[in-house]
């Protein structure tokens, strides 16, 4: 008798749980669709001929599918130049930050030394300095160093946000590797560099990849320095290039949205490939700008 009663209660509870789960799925799907709508709409407009951009009622699926925007953007050598600049800049900044940042992270993670806490606080603090405050003097210094309108000026200034990020991220990953690894390797005759390169880095590969992806993303998306420290059309990056389209190309929405899609694809693909690793890192990096 009491057995059936408990059975009944647990069946009820199961059913309630099931309904609750269905509700969560429905809510998540609706919210996600609403929040992803701007992105979906961007793709939709990029595939419409310009006359259809504001046609009423709005259609998600274009009446006439048109790849004109994409073709015009990809055929334009200026846009290809923007993409090339952003790739080169992103790769150089990522590589530099990763190498210098990993060395520093290794020092922080594996040694206790005089001034270690101060040095770490200093690295964290550098992330907090307002970009706009740095920009004004950077402009003066970069012009003075004759690095204005060159990729070197951008590489140098990008390190102010990419390097602290790389240090903090890599420090976090190296901290998760037990010290026994180092000791075993030291007994086998490895020096500190041997420990880092032969033992720790292979284990920390997911961390390195996610740090690299996110550093690349920060560099790819940066706008303020790229806008103010370059001048010629040959030196512009993707974000600045897109922003210039508004004035120079008389608001052709299909082209602008096509270039936005093309310009977002590299980071989107990278992010999707490694999102498992990256998500945890996002919270450490924030977004400056």
């Amino acid at each position: 008798m009491s057995d059936t009663a408990t059975n009944h209660a647990s069946v009820n509870e199961e059913r309630q749980k099931f309904y609750r789960r269905v509700m969560v799925y429905v809510a998540l799907t609706v919210v996600t669709l609403i929040l992803a709508f701007p992105i979906i709409w961007m793709v939709s407009v990029s595939l419409k001929p310009t006359v259809e951009t504001f046609s009423l009622p709005p259609r998600l699926i274009p009446e006439t599918l048109s790849f004109d925007g994409y073709v015009r953007v990809l055929e334009n050598p200026q846009f290809r130049r923007f993409l090339l600049n952003s790739y080169i800049l992103g790769l150089v900044v990522t590589l530099l930050s990763l190498v210098i940042g990993t060395l520093a992270a290794f020092g922080f993670s594996r040694y206790r030394f005089f001034g270690d806490k101060t040095a770490k606080l200093f690295v964290i603090t550098t992330q907090m300095v307002p970009t706009i405050t740095l920009l004004i003097p950077f402009f003066g210094v970069i012009v003075w160093l004759r690095l204005y309108d060159s990729i070197w000026g951008l590489i140098l200034t990008y390190l102010t946000f990419s390097l602290p990020y790389a240090v903090i991220m890599m420090n976090g990953y190296l901290d998760t590797i037990p010290k026994d690894f180092d000791e075993a390797a030291t007994i086998d005759g490895c020096g500190p560099l041997g420990v880092l390169f032969r033992v720790l880095l292979p284990v920390a590969m997911p961390g390195i990849i996610s740090t690299a992806v996110y550093t690349f993303l920060l560099s790819w998306n940066e706008f303020l320095f790229a806008l103010a420290l370059t001048r010629s059309i040959e030196m512009r990056t993707v974000p600045v290039g897109i922003s210039m389209m508004v004035g120079e190309f008389g608001l052709k929405w299909d082209e602008m949205m096509a270039f936005s899609v093309i310009g977002s694809l590299p980071v989107l693909i990278l992010f999707m490939l490694v999102q498992r690793f990256v998500v945890s890192g996002l919270s450490a990096g924030g977004i400056k700008g």
Binding site: T32, F108, L134, G140
Partner: protein, 295 residues
């Protein structure tokens, strides 16, 4: 002798690893921070070879400039509004994604919900200009359901521009809070919820008495970080409204940029930049005091 050298080698090792990083960061920060203060004490810097020393003149100009005060008020509204928006949307989504659903589905929803963060500010700005356009989808939807009679130029009307900007900023920034809270939520021991359930706590009681206190350290740090970053944010404002219409959405960062790169008044720009630095330094100290305990 060799022991001394060995000792040096032993103790010197970490400094060797840190040296490149600290030297580069030190140079990249100390030089501009020194320079920006110096610029703010001179007149006609950068554009002229021999600028004149004017002491605190630029500061008194700034403090008596009504544009500075209206930009400060806008910055306050923009920063607080954005951070509150991020926290509300971010917390709600973190709770929803953290609900007991299939881990696969959880991963998919989480990565889809992070998307607004992945795009560069220019793309975000263009997307929303398209949506908020007088002939755009949002106006169409609102007129169809009868909320408004005639389309509104959300970004071009001084009465609505700040609200539109806050909407865009909320959309762009909530993923940071969501991701941070999500990892915080997943570290709360399940036993606490079970114990609360035994005591008869419902959903809201559990949220208020278990989730919030457990998340408190995370909330404080993350909110401060968000505040510091939003306070100095430039691209999103510049690219959506450009500080306009008029000066209705002009914040301190766009004002600095305008003074420097539109009006070529770099001394005045440096002065505004220093004021931004001072305010964000105050928040940074709060953040570091919190962070220090974790190191």
């Amino acid at each position: 002798m060799s022991r001394v050298i060995n000792g040096l080698k032993e103790n010197g090792t970490p400094y060797f690893f840190l040296l490149p990083c600290i030297v580069i960061l030190g140079a990249l920060l100390s030089v501009p921070l020194y320079k920006v203060v110096e610029y703010s004490l001179y007149d006609n810097v950068i554009v002229e070879r021999n600028p004149t020393f004017v002491g605190l003149q630029n500061y008194s100009n700034l403090l008596t400039d009504s544009a500075f005060w209206s930009a400060s008020v806008n910055t306050l509204i923009f920063t607080l509004g954005s951070v509150i928006g991020h926290i509300i949307v971010g917390t709600g989504l973190a709770l929803l994604v953290n609900a007991e659903i299939h881990p696969r589905a959880q991963t998919v929803f989480r990565s889809l919900l992070i998307l607004p963060w992945i795009f560069t500010a220019v793309v975000v700005a263009l997307n929303w200009q398209l949506l908020l356009n007088p002939f755009g989808v949002i106006n169409y939807g609102l007129t169809e359901i009868g909320l408004i009679d005639t389309p509104i130029d959300w970004l071009g009307d001084p009465a609505f521009a700040m609200w539109a900007l806050l909407l865009i900023s909320t959309w762009r920034g909530y993923p940071f809070i969501m991701v941070s809270f999500l990892s915080g939520l997943q570290s709360i021991p399940k036993e606490l919820y079970e114990a609360a359930e035994i005591d008869g706590a419902g959903f809201f009681a559990k949220f208020w008495h278990v989730t919030v206190p457990q998340l408190k350290p995370v909330i404080y740090g993350v909110a401060l970080l968000d505040l510091i970053w939003t306070f100095q944010l430039f691209p999103l404002v510049w690219l959506t409204t450009g500080g306009g219409p008029g000066r209705s959405t002009e914040v301190l960062s766009t004002m600095t940029f305008r003074q420097g790169f539109v009006d070529f008044e770099f001394s005045q720009a440096a002065t505004t930049a220093v004021s931004i630095l001072i305010i964000s330094a105050a928040f940074t100290i709060l953040y570091l005091r919190n962070e220090k305990q974790k190191i």
